[in-house]
């Protein structure tokens, strides 16, 4: 069953179509990275899913509840905006207690849940301090804690770590990673390394439309090029050049390139041609330091897809 199902979702602001017939499905229990360049429609999509914005068209269901049933949706989701705002005159303990009251938790349940979440967020020591004096990282961790008070089925995070320094980023990403198996996480971001580190499934949005949606490993495999990289010991450049020249004439090699002591060989069939290439290397007597299939990073795939999509939409 899908934790989030979006069908033809649209949002127009005047003449601008921020979300343009978006179709998306997020599996239950997934940590879903919603990737896209700035202005792609990530935040608008999340605001539509939370009910803070109203769709111009289409339908969506979150944790089995239709967006029209805002009360049901509110009870089943947790939401963390990019820069969460709090009642700064409250302490974190009071804030979580207030949120617990809104969800109708009993006094004992509120107290226990608040302490549990403050421990998780590393804020137990400062639970009675006013939020006004909190750093950005502390606020973000408190933001995540308040989004979890009701043990949500779906957690919607809008750029949860964009505004944080590397240390704060690591802490929050570890917290998000720790939610695996507890709920479905839908996390928007434009920081690819965060997705690579935390998410198992990826959706890329551009110009308000979904460009691709797949498991991260499947996506990387799908866009892997049949390229081998060979690196030889220093002083072996001449032998490497001779090998590359010899390979250039082979029918199973599409393209070769050489840069210093590193050669790149583009082949037709990565699996079938690997033993042939290895045999050629052995026969050449080259002192090889490294031999590997080049795998693209998520960044390579992202840029490729977004660029392709950009070209496609250009008039």
């Amino acid at each position: 069953m899908s934790a989030i199902r979006i069908e033809g979702l649209q949002k127009n602001y005047g003449g601008v179509r921020a979300v343009d017939g978006l179709n998306l499905s997020v599996e239950e229990g997934a940590i879903f990275g919603f990737l896209g360049p700035n202005g792609a429609g990530k935040t608008t999509t999340i605001r539509l899913l939370t009910g803070l914005a109203h769709p111009s068209g289409g339908q969506a269901w979150v944790a089995g509840a239709s967006l029209g049933d805002s009360r049901k949706v509110a009870g089943r989701i947790g939401y963390l905006p990019e820069e969460p705002a709090f009642y700064t005159w409250m302490s974190p303990l009071e804030f979580l207690d207030h949120v617990g009251r809104l969800f109708g938790l009993s006094s004992a349940a509120r107290k226990a849940r608040a302490m549990e979440l403050l421990e998780m967020a590393g804020l137990a020591q400062v639970r009675k301090r006013r939020i006004a004096g909190f750093s950005r990282g502390m606020r973000q961790r408190l933001g995540l804690a308040q989004a979890l008070v009701n043990r949500p089925e779906v957690l919607l995070l809008d750029e949860p770590v964009s505004a944080l320094d590397p240390a704060g980023r690591k802490e929050v990403l570890e917290m998000i990673g720790g939610l695996r198996g507890q709920c479905t996480v839908f996390m928007s971001t434009h920081i690819l390394s965060d997705v690579e580190r935390t998410c198992d499934t990826v959706g890329i949005i551009n110009h308000g439309k979904l460009v691709v949606e797949a498991k991260q490993q499947e996506l990387l495999a799908r866009y892997t090029l049949p390229v081998f990289e060979l690196e030889c010991d220093p002083g072996q450049e001449a032998a490497l050049r001779a090998l590359v020249d010899a390979l250039s004439g082979c029918s199973w090699v599409t393209k070769t390139s050489l840069e210093g002591n590193v050669a790149r060989i583009l082949v037709k069939n990565v699996t079938g041609d690997r033993p042939i290439l290895l045999g050629a290397v052995v026969r050449s007597g080259l002192a090889l330091r490294r031999f590997e299939i080049v795998t693209p990073s998520l960044e390579d795939v992202f840029l490729r897809l977004v660029e392709q999509d950009g070209k496609a939409v250009q008039p």
Binding site: R47, R71, P81, A85, F86, W89, L102, G104
Partner: protein
């Protein structure tokens, strides 16, 4: 249930941010000083060089002068404070983003809005009660006993007038994107209602007539029922309009 939770939060916020304290102190000071000012105005005139000859022209102050002074001070500053305390209540939460964080939880926009109005109403009721108590005590000491029922009714009617401007400013705070604009429209509403108040027929229904009714209770009661119904209607209409507008807003 969530109305109580929201109301609780609003009241604690008013206490912690010292708004309730300031409101109580200001109204208390005017409650205390009004009978004093009424009583000692002739004495004060004698102390002003050149104004001694006018002191004799001022009639001996009475209990009604004390009531009039109280109505003038509390009425003016009460309405001004109602405007100041309501102008940012909605717009500030929308600007900061706290409204968005709260309204994705099981909290309806109507309850969110109503809690703000009720908290303001409660705060003004508490502050006015203090002012009324102080005013009553000093009037008793300086002028003798007065009709407690009339005094309570007068303060109740003044509270109702303040509620009208609170509800209107809350509406403007919901509709607009800046506190200054909400305050500006609030002042505009005061001016418009004051202008209409001087017109025949329509003027009888304006909220400021409530205070006149309250004062008349000490002499010849002159009920201003149209003003009462119109004020209640205006409060309800302003809250309803604010709710309808807020429901459609994107946060």
């Amino acid at each position: 249930m969530n109305l109580l939770t929201s109301l609780r939060k609003e009241l604690i916020e008013q206490w912690r941010t010292y708004r309730l304290l300031v409101l109580c102190l200001v109204l208390l000071v005017f409650g205390l000083s009004s009978p004093l000012l009424a009583k000692y105005t002739p004495e004060l005139l004698k102390l002003i060089p050149g104004a001694e000859q006018f002191a004799g022209l001022v009639p001996k102050p009475t209990l009604l002068d004390a009531v009039a002074q109280y109505v003038k001070n509390i009425g003016q500053f009460g309405v001004l404070l109602a405007l100041l305390m309501s102008m940012g209540s909605m717009v500030a939460e929308k600007e900061r983003g706290t409204a968005a964080l709260m309204l994705v939880k099981p909290l309806s926009r109507g309850v969110f809005l109503l809690a703000k109005f009720l908290a303001l109403a409660c705060s003004f009721l508490a502050a006015l009660a203090l002012a009324a108590l102080a005013g009553y005590y000093y009037t008793l000491v300086l002028f003798g006993p007065m009709d407690v029922g009339a005094w309570l009714a007068l303060n109740g009617l003044m509270w109702l007038e303040m509620l009208v401007f609170m509800a209107l400013t809350l509406l403007f705070s919901t509709l607009l994107r800046s506190q200054a604009a909400a305050a500006g429209l609030g002042i505009g509403a005061i001016l418009v209602l004051s202008l209409i108040s001087s017109l025949p027929t329509f003027g009888d229904a304006m909220p400021d007539k409530l205070v006149g009714w309250g004062v008349s209770l000490f002499t010849q009661p002159a009920p201003a029922w149209p003003a009462l119904w119109f004020s209640l209607g205006l409060i309800l209409a302003a809250l309803l309009a604010a709710w309808l507008a807020f429901r459609k807003q994107e946060l």
